[in-house]
Symmetry: C2
Subunit: 217 residues, 2 copies
């Protein structure tokens, strides 16, 4: 088996901890029980060595032997080909999971990111721009609600699509954005109750906390 | 060969014509020279028959035999498995194309969509919210510029990743957002100079223009 290495920042400030996207990859690796190691890249200096793996200066990236992959969607599809715990094995099921991978990122996160970033930044909510952002998210959640009310997981069985969708929705939930979407809220609750999520989340928190100690030393 | 059918709206208002996302799928189908037909779904009534294929009430979707796929990213990856004109054939090249498919949508369009929608809606540009949106796009374009300055196409040869990236960037270009990104602008120019783009664009315009006549009749 090739050597899987997940690279994330060596440290991040307090607010994004628990939200850094290496969590999605950790979660998938834990679900699949694939062996991996975690490497660090400097948060304060995103130089050529970083950009060679992740041209936008972000994290995470994953190396699988001599292949290097960035974008959590691409990484999770790659891991989905390595474990039937992450993707259905039949072609129809794989197509189903793939379309929901894109839907999580492009139909839902495309609408939720401007919303959660505005909340995070404390932008005023009495503007036309905010109303547009808020209406856009509500429109998408309104469409998602009956989908998540009618099935346990998006593609028949638990898959990488659920890792992405649940990770997108739990940030909205944190800011109270799922108040009118009980099926979405229940879905976040059942996804994040999985032991692999708990392990991934705790490992990310511990990774950055250990860096605090190193900085303080 | 299975029967490929692309479904788009039967009609849309004037402003989004040339921008409706069936264009991405038409472009890929034209590049690959795969036979396909175009079907229509009512713009004014997005009922259960629509939502069964596209749960968010959008277009396009593609049926390939009895498989139905929504999300242009998922559709283009699916078509990439059917034609070596759309994806490299070696595993490394396929991984490269897949990560740039996600990067086009999630690293670039995630930043460009709030920007282009604000322009489209005419939101004020003297707000903290606008500055955040504008800075976010500039950050991403700044990272993309050296990538597109150093290669003709994203994944070695022309691929579905280029269809998505060029389609995302040409909308930014339309609103003048690539003024400080000459390599991005040159990339949009060489991608949209391809005959398959021209055919796809003309076909979309003609499709909606024909619907105008039917409405007027």
């Amino acid at each position: 088996m090739a050597d899987l290495t997940l690279t994330t920042f060596n440290w991040v400030p307090e607010p994004p901890r628990g939200l850094v996207r290496d969590l999605r990859v950790r979660w998938a690796l834990e679900e699949a029980a694939l062996p991996y190691r975690v490497a660090s890249t400097p948060f304060d200096d995103r130089g050529p060595a970083h950009l060679a793996h992740q041209p936008f200066g972000q994290v995470p990236w994953l190396t699988d032997g001599d292949i290097s992959i960035f974008e959590t969607g691409a990484i999770l599809l790659h891991l989905g080909e390595r474990s039937n715990k992450l993707m259905p094995t039949n072609p129809r099921g794989r197509t189903e999971a793939t379309k929901w991978v894109f839907a999580a990122l492009n139909s839902v996160e495309m609408a939720s990111l401007p919303w959660t970033m505005s909340k995070f930044m404390g932008h005023p909510t009495d503007t036309a721009a905010w109303k547009f952002v808020d209406d856009f998210l509500k429109l998408r959640l309104g469409r998602l609600e009956p989908v998540l009310g009618s099935r346990e997981w998006l593609a028949g069985s638990f898959s990488v699509a659920d890792i992405l969708m649940a990770d997108v929705l739990r940030v909205v939930d944190r800011f109270g954005g799922l108040a009118d979407s009980p099926a979405c809220r229940a879905y976040v609750a059942r996804a994040t109750a999985r032991p692999a999520f708990a392990k991934a989340h705790a490992d990310q928190i511990a990774h950055f906390a250990a860096a605090d100690k190193a900085r303080g030393a």
